[in-house]
């Protein structure tokens, strides 16, 4: 039988039992719909976490010195003083995958302006820091390397600091604040970034030239950590590898020795933070997938009833020349049509449900083309898998018995 005729025959026989066809389809509709909706919710929460992580900057890598140890007693991570500006210089010279790098020192200070005061962290960095962390200014400008060389007493402040020292909607550019009694001139204000993935206020910050903080406030010669960015997201592992090799050579460590520093990339952090939501997605999708299989069993059940009910029809078809495979194909196509049509309706249903969840519960949802394609293929596979047995049963009927069947 030609494919066109097979399709017509299948549509006709499904249309003969509209209610039954619809109820059978319902299993697939609910199954596919819930797969789409569950994956949309899982992906949505994953994406919102990723969006928060990306506020760290673009392709960011953090390099910390390892814990120092004195006579076998190991200290806190980052306490080693072996990392210096030389390291920063050599990395920027010898690591082609690194786009930008800055040393980083951190001090905490009491900020005073007029009759107000506030305590917060003061970071000493190169101007590249703003590029790496993707920080933008709402007014003023960033300090320069000249400011760093002269250890100029200038700073860029976050919105929370402005609000607490000068009140909201004020523009304190050019005004002075005293940090641990040293007067600093405010030259820029950072655009608000809100909380990060771990609930910290990213606007509660003061950023000053590196040497200003290192020499004037901390009076140290080493650097506490480095912040670098890779040229592209794909180059993050390469950059990490290059930094490891260069720094190990610089610190005179053999290739087999453990490095005396730790590199943590944005990818690592993102992976960590999204792994929980990934597990949730898998869990939800599994439950939804099980309902899809239950829908498939529904198809098999109805197709078996249909084969028994239509034994005589099968006999008639065989007597006029239908071969076993024509009958097999006819029933298989019917099963496939139920599951495919159910799949398509289920996709629409799933998208609607996801949008409804986004609207009513305000949850972030993301519908991916992958999940749509996957559930479409999965539902047609179910049609073939669960339609096969009844169809084969129909194809193997003996025409003489089938014609005599009452």
């Amino acid at each position: 039988m030609k494919l066109k005729n097979l399709l017509i025959a299948a549509i006709r026989s499904l249309a003969k039992n509209k209610m039954r066809t619809f109820l059978t389809m319902l299993g697939i509709i609910i199954g596919v719909g819930s797969v789409i909706a569950m994956i949309a919710i899982g992906q949505g929460s994953k994406k919102s976490i990723q969006a928060q992580i990306s506020t760290l900057g673009t392709n960011v890598m953090m390099i910390w010195p390892q814990a120092s140890s004195t006579g076998g007693v190991r200290m806190e991570a980052g306490t080693s003083q072996k990392m210096t500006l030389e390291d920063v210089k050599i990395i920027s010279e010898r690591c082609p995958a690194v786009a930008a790098i800055t040393p980083q020192v951190r001090s905490s200070g009491q900020l005073v302006a007029g009759n107000m005061n506030w305590r917060t962290s003061v970071y000493g960095v190169y101007p590249e820091y703003f590029e790496i962390r993707n920080l933008k200014l709402v007014s003023g400008s960033v300090f320069t390397m000249n400011d760093d060389r002269s250890a100029a007493k200038v700073c860029v402040v976050g919105q929370t600091v402005v609000n607490n020292l000068f009140g909201e909607d004020s523009d304190p550019i050019g005004r002075f604040i005293r940090i641990n009694k040293i007067p600093f001139k405010i030259i820029g204000i950072i655009e608000s970034k809100g909380q990060n993935a771990f609930g910290q206020d990213q606007d509660d910050i003061v950023i000053a030239p590196f040497s200003t903080v290192q020499k004037r406030m901390l009076a140290i010669t080493h650097i506490q950590s480095m912040l670098a960015s890779a040229k592209t997201e794909a180059l993050i592992p390469t950059a990490s590898q290059e930094i490891t090799e260069v720094l190990k050579a610089k610190h005179q460590l053999g290739p087999s020795e453990d490095p005396d520093f730790t590199i943590r990339t944005q990818t690592d952090i993102a992976k960590m933070a999204t792994s929980t939501s990934g597990i949730m997605t898998i869990l939800l999708a599994t439950i939804a997938g099980i309902s899809l299989i239950v829908g498939g069993i529904g198809i098999m059940n109805i197709m078996l009833v249909s084969v028994t009910e239509r034994t005589r029809e099968i006999g008639i078809r065989m007597s006029v020349g239908a071969r076993g495979r024509d009958v097999l194909l006819q029933f298989l196509i019917e099963a496939l049509m139920i599951s495919l049509l159910g799949g398509i309706i289920g996709i629409v249903f799933g998208i609607l449900v996801s949008q409804l969840i986004a609207m009513i519960l305000m949850w972030p949802v993301t519908i991916t083309a992958d999940s749509i394609l996957m559930s479409f293929l999965f539902s047609s596979a179910i049609g073939i898998f669960f339609g096969w047995y009844p169809a084969r049963k129909a194809a193997q009927l003996n025409p003489i018995d089938a014609l005599r069947y009452e």
Binding site: M1, K2, K4, N5, A9, R12, K16, R312, E313, G315, I316, R317, M318, S319, V320, G321, A322, R323, G324, R325, D326, P399, I400, L403
Partner: protein, 235 residues
């Protein structure tokens, strides 16, 4: 295997020529159904040979048998066996659906032609439950001849019909036979067998009687003698 072999037929040697009109008679259990199943390529003989249009049917696979039924045989059954909720035209088209060489346009025109030859072209779009028993059987006959078979096999075609509609059905068979189509019918009514050219009687799997009908009855003449009933007047 472990079952007792039942010889439904034994020692049957028969030859049906093109253009013949044969009635197979006998009581139930006489072997006439098995004989018809073999003629119709629904069954193959365990021993012996059946040659249909020059082909040894016994040596064929299931698919080849189906193909043979599709191209060379037309079936008419006692209980009509039309597909329910399927129009007369679509029922007639059914055998052509399984013939890959026929286009849908040809399918349609041949089905209409077949319906015309049984006088039902005006009922093409009726469903079987909207047709009388006689009309349903005529649709079934149209279906059996739509593929230009070498033989039409009818199993008790008048078994479920009253006298008048039986005559109508027999008239169609006689007309088809006049056009050169070979027809074999199974019947246990001797007055129906009297419309054919040759009567073969089975008992216990053997042919016990084989006679030529000297002067077959003429269904058309007899129909014209019966007063026209209220429900039908298509003479």
């Amino acid at each position: 295997m472990g079952d007792v072999d039942v010889h439904a037929l034994r020692g049957v040697n028969i030859s049906i020529q093109q253009g013949d009109f044969v009635a197979i008679m006998g009581k139930s259990g006489s072997g006439k159904s098995t004989f018809m199943n073999i003629l119709g390529c629904l069954d193959v003989p365990t021993r012996g040979k059946y040659m249909l249009d020059g082909v040894d049917v016994g040596a064929l696979s299931k698919d080849q048998l189906a193909n043979l039924r599709n191209l060379k045989i037309g079936f008419v059954f006692q209980s009509f066996n039309l597909l329910s909720r399927t129009s007369a035209l679509e029922n007639v088209e059914l055998p052509l659906m399984y013939n890959r060489k026929i286009t849908s346009r040809e399918m349609r025109s041949r089905a209409i032609q077949a319906l015309e030859s049984v006088g039902l072209e005006t009922r093409a779009h009726h469903m079987p439950n909207q047709l009388s028993g006689g009309e349903q059987q005529r649709v079934a006959i149209a279906r059996s001849l739509v593929n230009n078979p070498v033989v039409i096999l009818a199993d008790e075609p008048t078994g479920n019909l009253d006298t008048r509609t039986s005559l109508e059905v027999m008239e169609v068979f006689q007309e088809l036979n006049r056009r050169g189509i070979t027809v074999v019918i199974v019947t246990h009514e001797s007055d129906i067998a009297a419309f054919t050219k040759r009567n073969i009687t089975f008992r216990d799997g053997k042919i016990i009687k084989e006679i030529e009908v000297n002067k077959p009855r003429n269904a058309r003449e007899e129909l014209s003698l019966i007063p026209v009933t209220v429900e039908e007047d298509e003479l």
